[in-house]
Symmetry: C2
Subunit: 293 residues, 2 copies
């Protein structure tokens, strides 16, 4: 499998589906729909929806059948980015090289566009045709739990209030497990549940997602550091002085690389009992550890 080609193919499927599921820019009131589309159609690797599809395939389901659910997870991810970028939170002007939503549409519309994407996510999950009604309710319940204060929002709260503070390992892991990990876990489980996963399959895929999420976050921290060093010549270790909550800041670069590698091995081990239908999930692990972007 050429993994990067395969990932692109999936991203294209997701983007075509998002195009269908988002209200047109012209729908009244147009400004809010333009703002929603601006951030959702603004690129990205579409890793989370690809995980939903791969979760379905791993247990014998089809990628296409879980597209509404895959898009729902991407909408939850996008809403969290828009709100995270607001002046009251991280106050970021750029994301993925583009102006952030509130820089283009103003704070009021950015706030409401985030609200609307979260709401639309649950609409899509309720419209989903794959899986039994019981399975769809289970997916909605898990999505709400994972996106709530015991998941995504909990991670954001602790992240926001520990900026500039001394952060210990327990707190750092809490932030990453919740701010990033919770959506990875939901993504794989959503696909698997809708495709009729057995309990032991679901349990194994959940472990896979948790280790993958941590590996992804650690390499993200490493890339930030190494990237900065290469581009602006900032010495390795300056994040440590700034007390930024990152793995390299807490453990050093080499230990962080080992930790990422260990999480990857654990992710692969979790897939032990799956056949070639889980190959995309396996290749994703290689991609996460070796990526340079």
């Amino acid at each position: 499998m050429n993994f990067k080609e395969e990932l692109k193919k999936r991203a294209k499927m997701v983007e075509e589906a998002l195009e269908r599921f988002l209200p047109p820019s012209s729908a009244y009131p147009p400004l809010i729909h333009q703002a929603m589309r601006y951030s959702v159609m603004g690129g990205g690797k579409r890793l989370r929806p690809s995980l939903v599809m791969a979760g379905a395939e791993a247990v014998g389901g089809s990628a296409a059948s879980v597209l509404p659910a895959a898009c729902a997870v991407e909408l939850i991810h996008t809403y969290s980015l828009i709100h995270d970028d607001l002046p009251a939170m991280d106050n970021d002007d750029y994301r993925r090289g583009k102006l952030t939503n509130h820089k283009v549409f103003g704070e009021a519309i950015a706030l409401l566009a985030g609200d609307a994407l979260l709401t639309l996510a649950f609409q899509l999950l309720a419209e989903n045709k794959a899986g039994s009604p019981e399975d769809n309710l289970k997916v909605i319940h898990e999505a709400a739990l994972g996106a709530g204060t015991k998941g995504l929002i909990g991670g954001q709260v602790v992240d926001t209030f520990s900026a500039g503070e001394e952060v210990d390992e327990v707190t750092l892991e809490y932030i990453h497990r919740n701010k990033t990990g919770a959506l990875y876990r939901i993504s794989v489980r959503t696909g698997a549940i809708l495709a009729g996963a057995r309990p032991e399959q679901l349990e194994a895929l959940s472990r896979y997602a948790e280790h993958l999420g941590l590996a992804f976050q650690i390499t993200d921290d490493i890339l930030d550091l190494v990237g900065e060093e290469r581009i602006i010549g900032k010495p390795v270790g300056s994040d440590l002085k700034n007390k930024k909550a990152t793995y390299p800041a807490l453990f050093g670069l080499e230990n962080s690389r080992e930790k990422a590698s260990l999480e990857c091995s654990r992710a692969l081990s979790a897939l032990r009992d799956f056949g070639k239908e889980a190959d995309f999930l396996r290749s994703l692990v290689e991609f996460v550890i070796n990526r340079d972007y």
Copy 2:
């Protein structure tokens, strides 16, 4: 029926249930849970959850069985108030005589508390035990539609962007139908659907809710005007000069009173085929037109 006693009894049921469904203030991370509780447990008439319960009773169901759904609607209402009060939106310091959420907890936590309440609402709807799984999915779908850009959020967008502008009747009705009306409609329909309403019952209850919502909004506008006149001696008609989008501003006080009264008659007519099991809904109409708060 002593309607005010009955409404208080229902508000108490809802508040006890909200107390159970909201995470405790001490749950990690505590600040977000304190902020959620601050606004949800901050009083209010609990009209929307009472409508959910009354919708169930009107078609022979029980109020208690739809309590999680009733609480979900109240959480959606509260999230919209918290976000509406933020500096980026209406920038209000007080609500119901108490400091607004962001004045107590800061903007970041208020933003996330709103997000968390919306998310928790969908969690409660997915946990709900009344109704078949199909009915619960239908309720979640309707709640997402009504809370989204074709409902609540659409109304907020148009309201925010027409502040200070000349607003015509069509726009005013759009704002009220969506910003207020959509949740009234969802409330009654949610209770009725979960209690197994027949299509013609659901249709009649939807008409009831739409007329009740408009009547409520018009009397709200009238009370604002008359209340202000009595308290700060501002002459009737000053809202007209300030181009505030209200019914009295557009139609004058007397025409607005007639309009509210007409909407009430229409709401009552919609209940024509219901027996005494819809008496709470009928009394609510009287309450809405005659209230002084």
